[in-house]
């Protein structure tokens, strides 16, 4: 431990070089991660056909950007130590490493940065949550959804229509009141980014606004018995006039 002063100085400059190289590696991995975040998830997610789905994709991308920077710290340091500090022979190292038991600045920086990042994730999530849970508009379309082993069925209380298919108008908010006749199911429309469990003897609620006409999938997302794998149906998003025509064709009435 009684190193001559020039060794200590050499040691300090070597340390700076190591840190600089590791930071460079961190930058490279982070940039790769950000490129991945910007281009891959939005293409992998199902087609985004509601306001919620768009917001969810944005959250995913934002978290991936932050996550890439965080993971890159771990990966860069790990990879760098494996490359730069590996003991040559493959056998037991001939000497010990430096006895560094604490580094107050590194600890403080780590705790500060990780706390800030966590805070960002929390604030982001709470903001998104408050917009998801705000009150439904008064002209929202109400749809009662019933799960049973292993089919979904739908009814429109205001329009007096019952249907095995889910049909919705584009651009109008829709509130799903979800229940089950037997076990727990989960009502999931991947393209809308919404999911809520269908519980027996309870009514749960979720809502969204479809933004793009088209044909999308409805899935059960909670194991519900033998044919859970096949418990799916479709949601058809029509124009407003198309929806009204569908309601009339099924014997329902359209409110003015």
């Amino acid at each position: 431990m009684a190193d001559p002063p020039d060794t200590v100085e050499k040691d300090a400059s070597a340390s700076r070089i190591h840190v600089r190289r590791a930071v460079l590696l961190w930058v490279v991995i982070t940039v790769l991660g950000i490129v991945f975040a910007l281009f891959v998830p939005s293409r992998v997610f199902p087609f985004q056909a509601s306001s919620d789905a768009t917001r969810i994709t944005a959250t995913f991308i934002a978290f991936t950007v932050l996550g890439a920077a965080v993971a890159a710290v771990v990966w860069a340091v790990a990879a760098y130590t494996l490359w730069a500090f590996r003991s040559g022979s493959g056998g037991p190292p001939e000497s010990d490493g430096p006895s560094v038991r604490r580094h107050i600045r590194a600890e403080a920086a780590w705790i500060t940065v990780s706390s800030i990042l966590t805070l960002v994730a929390i604030v982001w999530g709470l903001a998104a949550l408050s917009s998801v849970s705000s009150a439904a508009s008064s002209d929202a379309l109400i749809v009662n959804v019933t799960g049973q082993q292993w089919v979904w069925s739908y009814s429109y209380p205001d329009e007096h229509v019952n249907s095995p298919d889910l049909v919705l108008p584009v651009g109008r908010e829709v509130v799903f009141r979800v229940t089950s006749k037997d076990v727990v199911h989960s009502f999931w429309i991947p393209s809308f980014g919404i999911k809520v469990d269908a519980n027996p003897a309870e009514v749960t609620q979720t809502r969204t606004t479809p933004t793009v006409p088209g044909l999308y999938e409805v899935r059960c997302a909670e194991l519900c018995g033998l044919y859970h794998s096949y418990m799916e149906s479709q949601v058809k998003v029509l124009t407003r006039s198309g929806f009204e025509a569908w309601v009339k064709a099924n014997g329902g009435k359209v409110e003015p």
Binding site: M1, F45, P46, D52, A53, R55, I56, T59, F60, F63, G67, V70, A71, V74, W75, V77, T81, L82, F85, P92, P93, S95, D96, G97, P98, S99, V100, R101, R102, H103, W110, I111, S114, T118, A121, I122, G125, L126, A128, L129, V132, D182, V183, V184, S186, P190, G193, I194, K195, N199, T204, Q205, T206, E217, R219, L223, G225, L226, S229, Y230
Partner: protein, 656 residues
């Protein structure tokens, strides 16, 4: 310490086979796993024969099945001799010293591994073999699952068998992973690490293992009773419809939970009261901290699971309706009880693996553990917060939408203490002298994998994102990255590190490296692909899927086979090593914790002379601390001290 602390007459040899058999044991000489199984089956048959005609309600089948399992457990435990001590005491002929020595395995060679044995090293081996066996069974089920999912519209197994296997795979793996580090290394290594001659309650230690064994048999019998076609979380009311496999599940869990509670008390008391002279909390190895934190979680949260199972058993057996909404019950009651245990359980799996990594990194980096205090802060923070996050599994259930925000908050907060563990590992390996043993490779694989598991946990903790991803394969991939990437990689690091101490033989490094790369590559291929199909919208627990998920699933199945091949190479390595591996010296890695200060094979009483500690075990790059001369000759508590120093049991270094 009572039964394990004996005079070191056997030190020097392997301490077991070569010694003349003392007069002791009595009836215990005739009891072993065989008599246990026979007696268990007989009592189970008697219970079945009595209760079947007695019970006539429509629920009779489940009640009879549950009572039959109860009979098995009682018969097995009596038959293996778990209650010999108390029964002898009640009969006025308490065990003699020789009897207790017999119970500790003295003079019995290999047969002691099949007995109710109070030696913590034997119990450690028993846990290791049981844990690896159940891991293997769960792994075979994983291969069946991935084979079925290799392409859409596949018919390797029926939907019924598929559902049954998925649930079994889940619960068997959860059980295996939660014992696979604390069981073998918590029992075999931890007492030596703190300089003790055994566990605080040796008989409770054996009791906890054999209760678990009885429970595992019950759980595995579900395979013949319709499986667990509900997923491992066994949500009611689906579980009320389920086959008799549900009864096997709930009785298996009750036995496992009982076993865990007993083991937890034992380890906590051992760690608190039996640390050797000089080992204050600041000098206590971090692994001991981690085991204690894990055991605190077990002790606090298994009871919620037990309560959940008791109510489920009543619902199924006598027609109560705690969980049946049509009878006034609530499925949300079950979900809360389940996850109240189920989330801490994740940390019961993860923490021991992570802390083993923290213990091993300094040895192979030849640097002190970076910031012991931050590590302790991280462990305590994770333990505390893990009790407050359970409802993040219930964001989409509709139970309490108003609580989604608060539970999101606590969930995201847990990433701060988890991050501290990364800081400690990175700080330890930075500028070390990295010795890339297989054990150290698994430290790196932990860093790579677990950060993926951790970061994706932040996604799932975000409520709106959870609305999309919950119930999809994204979740499955995430928790495999934490439980395998964290827990199992930690186990492998620990296994390669401590196996030489346990078996006296060195694992083959070449086979180890082959298996490491197969496992690491295979694992990442499976679960990265699974993230993608989950994002695409494939739900979990489905036996079949739309063609647009075919590519990702095909790749995942390929990865699973690579992973499976890696596991087989690992198993081969273990078998070869046990049979003819290179003989290990006492301290092959240059470790400074106390278990490396005794001989290999470890004598029955662990230490000839109890070590005295003057520093923590991370003194790399520092002058060797000198023991205080006045107590250098101290040999533990009065009464347990051996008569004199034993040359054969010392590694020749000054105890420090």
């Amino acid at each position: 310490m009572a039964t394990a602390a004996v005079t070191p007459g056997s030190a020097g040899g392997n301490g077991h086979g070569s010694v003349a058999v003392p007069d002791g044991g009595g009836v215990m000489r005739r009891l072993n796993i065989g008599t246990g199984i026979v007696s268990g089956v007989i009592v189970a048959a008697i219970f079945w024969a009595i209760f079947r005609p007695l019970l006539h309600s429509p629920w009779a089948d489940d009640a009879v099945v549950n009572l039959t399992f109860l009979g098995w457990a009682i018969g097995f435990m009596v038959g293996i001799g778990a209650f010999t001590g108390p029964l002898r005491w009640a009969g006025g002929r308490d065990l003699t010293f020789e009897d207790r020595e017999y119970m500790a395995g003295r003079g019995q060679g290999r047969s002691r591994y099949f007995k109710f044995c109070t030696d913590h090293k034997v119990v450690g081996w028993q846990y290791l073999v049981l844990g690896m066996t159940t891991l293997g069974i769960g792994g075979v089920m994983a291969m069946i699952i991935r084979t079925q999912l290799s392409r859409p519209d596949n018919h390797i197994v029926t939907p019924q068998a598929y559902n049954a296997i998925v649930g079994l795979h889940g619960i068997i793996m959860i059980l295996s992973l939660s014992i696979i580090v604390t069981g073998p290394f918590g029992n075999f290594i931890m007492p030596m690490m703190i300089g003790a001659r055994g566990m605080a309650f040796p008989r409770l230690n054996a009791l906890s293992f054999w209760l678990l064994f009885a429970g595992v048999i019950v759980l595995l019998s579900a395979f013949f009773l319709g499986g667990i076609p509900t997923g491992w979380n066994v949500y009611a009311p689906l579980s009320l419809q389920g086959p008799a496999g549900m009864d096997a599940y709930l009785m298996g869990i009750l036995l496992w939970a009982l076993s865990s509670g007993i083991a937890a008390v034992n380890m906590i008391v051992t760690a608190i009261t039996m640390r050797t002279k000089g080992m204050n909390w600041g000098r206590t190895p971090i692994f001991v901290w981690g085991v204690m934190a894990t055991m605190v979680l077990s002790l606090l949260f298994f009871p919620a699971f037990q309560a959940a199972m008791v109510l489920l058993g009543l619902d199924r057996s006598i027609g109560t309706s705690f969980y049946d909404p049509n009878g006034g019950g609530s499925q949300w009651l079950y979900q809360n009880l389940f996850w109240l245990f189920g989330h801490p359980e994740v940390y019961i799996v993860l923490l021991p693996g992570a802390i083993a990594i923290l213990e091993i990194a300094p040895v192979f980096a030849r640097k002190p553990l970076f910031s012991h205090r931050v590590a302790v802060l991280g462990i305590v923070g994770i333990t505390t917060l893990s009790a407050l996050v359970w409802a993040h599994h219930m964001f989409t259930t509709g139970w309490a939408p108003a609580l989604n925000g608060p539970f999101m908050l606590t969930t995201e907060l847990i990433s701060i203490p988890t991050g501290l563990l990364f800081l400690v590992i990175l700080g330890t390996i930075w500028r070390g002298r990295i010795w890339t043993t297989v054990s150290m490779l698994f430290v790196y694989s932990f860093l790579w994998n677990f950060v993926i598991g951790g970061v994706t946990g932040v996604y799932l903790g975000d409520v709106p994102l959870n609305y999309q991803l919950h119930g999809s394969l994204f979740v499955t991939a995430h928790f495999h990255y934490t439980l395998i990437g964290g827990g199992l990689m930690g186990f492998f690091a620990a296994f390669y590190y401590w196996f030489p101490k346990m078996s006296g033989r060195m694992l083959n490094e070449f086979l180890g490296k082959v298996s490491f790369w197969l496992i690491q590559i295979g694992f990442n291929v499976v679960f990265l692909a699974m993230f993608f199909v989950g994002m695409q919208g494939q739900p979990r627990r489905v036996a079949d899927y739309a063609p647009r998920f075919a590519t990702g699933n095909g790749i995942a199945t390929l990865g699973a086979y690579i992973l499976g091949a890696g596991m087989l190479v690992f198993l081969w390595n273990v078998i070869v090593t046990v049979r003819r591996g290179e003989v290990a010296i006492g301290n092959p890695w240059g470790g400074k914790t106390l278990e490396w200060r005794t001989t290999t094979p470890v004598p029955l009483d662990d230490f000839a002379e109890l070590p005295v500690v003057v520093s923590d075990p991370y003194t790399y790059g520092e002058p060797e601390p000198q023991p205080v001369p006045a107590i250098a000759g101290a040999a533990g508590a009065p009464g347990t001290a051996p008569p004199g120093p034993n040359p054969a049991a010392s590694s020749g270094e000054a105890p420090s």
